[in-house]
């Protein structure tokens, strides 16, 4: 019993917390940088890149040499790096993110096609449908410092993130260099997202909705929003995962289904109250 808690449940709780925190932080930054409430952690193609990275390793038979999380992380970061290299404006980034995201998901489908009947196929599917079922202490040990450092870093730059809301010119009049600032903040967000989903696969919705929930309660200032989004995102995903595990036990729902099922109604209530 103690072993189950220690080896299965507890790492899963921690992985859930840090993943939720990472995605929520990343979403808050994306929405701040793009001044767009629809921005999500996956805006720059990180999810597509991560899936393609994992798929490539599986299909090309590199599985024994390269750990899948590493491949997914590299794929996600590479996709976002390409997007940021390709475009200089805000709109350009969004469009390039969509374009490259599509390219990478087509690439993934192509790899699926090649791998039809492959016994490792479900390993690729894992990345398209996020889950915390592979949690172990090693993963927690990798992700925790990344998230803690990321949260501290973004907290320190929160006022500058606020200043981006004044637009390119407004930020420049305050002595900031908007393009460099944007890339720095996006880089941090990409790193957080890629780290998290390399261990869990793509979990939707947390990074899109949780920052909004926090914003509706605490206001838009990023100095409160950043730490609060991290805590709220982490807590939210832990409970969503508990729910996913017990509601149809012994079967397990994908946690992404639960985040949407639980999150949307809650979000709509908040939205109504804010009007």
């Amino acid at each position: 019993m103690g072993l189950i808690v220690w080896q299965l449940r507890l790492p899963r709780v921690f992985l859930g917390f840090f993943t939720g925190a990472a995605l929520s932080l990343s979403g808050a930054v994306m929405q701040g940088v793009f001044r767009n409430p629809l921005a999500s952690p996956y805006l720059l193609g990180v999810a597509g890149g991560a899936t393609a990275g994992a798929a490539a390793v599986v299909v090309l038979g590199l599985r024994p040499f390269i750990p899948l999380p590493l491949a997914a992380f590299a794929g996600g970061v590479l996709a976002a790096f390409l997007v940021m290299r390709l475009s200089r404006t805000e709109l350009g980034l969004i469009l390039a993110g969509i374009a490259l995201g599509s390219l990478f998901s087509a690439l993934t489908s192509f790899l699926f096609f090649l791998a039809a009947g492959h016994r490792r196929l479900e390993e690729i599917l894992f990345w398209t449908m996020g889950s915390l079922s592979r949690a172990d202490w090693k993963g927690v040990g990798l992700l925790a410092p990344v998230v803690l450092f990321g949260a501290l870093f973004l907290g320190a730059w929160a006022r500058r993130l606020d200043a981006l809301s004044l637009g390119e010119e407004g930020a420049r009049f305050l002595g900031l260099e908007p393009r460099a600032l944007r890339h720095l903040l996006l880089g941090a967000a990409v790193f957080l997202t890629a780290s998290a989903i390399s261990l869990t696969g793509t979990i939707g919705f947390v990074g899109l909705i949780v920052p909004h929930m926090v914003r509706l309660i605490l206001g838009p200032g990023h100095r409160c929003l950043v730490p609060a989004a991290a805590l709220a995102g982490g807590t939210f995903l832990v409970w969503a995962d508990v729910f996913a595990r017990i509601v149809l036990a012994p079967a397990e729902l994908p946690v992404g289904v639960v985040t949407a099922l639980v999150g949307v109604p809650f979000f709509l209530v908040l939205l109504r109250r804010a009007r």
Binding site: R35, A156, S165, G167, E169, L174
Partner: protein, 261 residues
């Protein structure tokens, strides 16, 4: 001399909007920048704020080339309020004004006592103390305009650039706003502001700069610049210049020449 502009050529995508502009702006004076639409008023202010790189010519700030200074250094000395300032998030007034301290801070951008008092002073000067905790979205247009002025004042600049600061204000707020600017100038601030209302410009500026098609048509005291021949050349309509019966400043009316029968 706070700001000196020499032979400035500047524009967008290699097309020059300004060609060969010279001007000087001293501490304690208001320079009114006037001219028809498209003459380059906004471009001039942007270049003076260091937001545009000249293709030729130089902008000096206290004798130093603006392009050689770090953006943050420039922002410590020059504040600018854009024509239509906007903010995409619904901050409280105080939060927004606090952003004006960024040129003086480095991450984690915590406000020290000096920063707090600069913010307080900016709020006091603009009469926003009572509104400090209100969200921006709940303010009127005139109040919002004052918030962006407070943001620039929180920078504690020595030069303030205002682009059509009164465009969206009622008559009363227009005058109040400019009287406030006048007061700041008496404390040693140097102000350059673009205004399309020539009578307001005449009333509140120490000197005027008349721009037309990217060139300086005239520069000097209001009486020297607001003369019918120059105005007709710049604006392409007939101008009548009178003396204002109360303020004694030049008072301009435009009309189209009566068509010949």
């Amino acid at each position: 001399m706070k700001v000196k502009v020499c032979r400035l050529h500047v524009g967008y995508d290699r097309r020059n909007v300004l060609e060969g502009v010279d001007l000087e702006l001293k501490a304690g004076e208001i320079l009114g920048v006037i001219g028809p639409n498209g003459a380059g008023k906004t471009t001039l202010l942007r270049a003076m704020a260091g937001a545009l790189r000249p293709s030729f010519g130089v902008v000096y700030l206290d004798g130093k080339e603006l392009g050689q200074l770090k953006p943050q250094e420039v922002a410590r000395q020059i504040g600018m309020v854009a024509q239509v300032p906007s903010v995409s998030l619904d901050f409280r007034v105080r939060e927004l004004v606090e952003l004006g301290r960024l040129p003086h801070l480095r991450p984690p951008d915590r406000l020290g006592p000096a920063d707090q008092s600069a913010v307080k002073r900016a709020l006091r000067l603009t009469g926003l103390e009572e509104l400090a905790e209100r969200p921006i979205s709940s303010l009127s247009g005139g109040e919002r305009q004052r918030v962006f002025l407070a943001l620039a004042l929180a920078q504690e600049p020595q030069v303030l650039l205002l682009d059509e600061p009164t465009a969206h204000l009622d008559v009363r707020y227009r005058l109040e706003f400019l009287i406030l600017v006048r007061k700041l100038v008496q404390e040693g601030l140097a102000v350059a502001m673009a205004l399309h209302d020539l009578n307001l410009a005449a009333q509140f500026s120490d000197r005027l700069l008349l721009l037309s098609r990217g060139r300086v048509l005239a520069q000097g005291r209001p009486q020297e610049v607001l003369i019918p021949e120059l105005l007709e050349k710049a604006f392409g309509v007939k101008a009548l210049v009178l003396g204002h019966p109360v303020t004694g400043r030049p008072w301009v009316e435009f009309y189209l020449p009566r068509p010949n029968p």
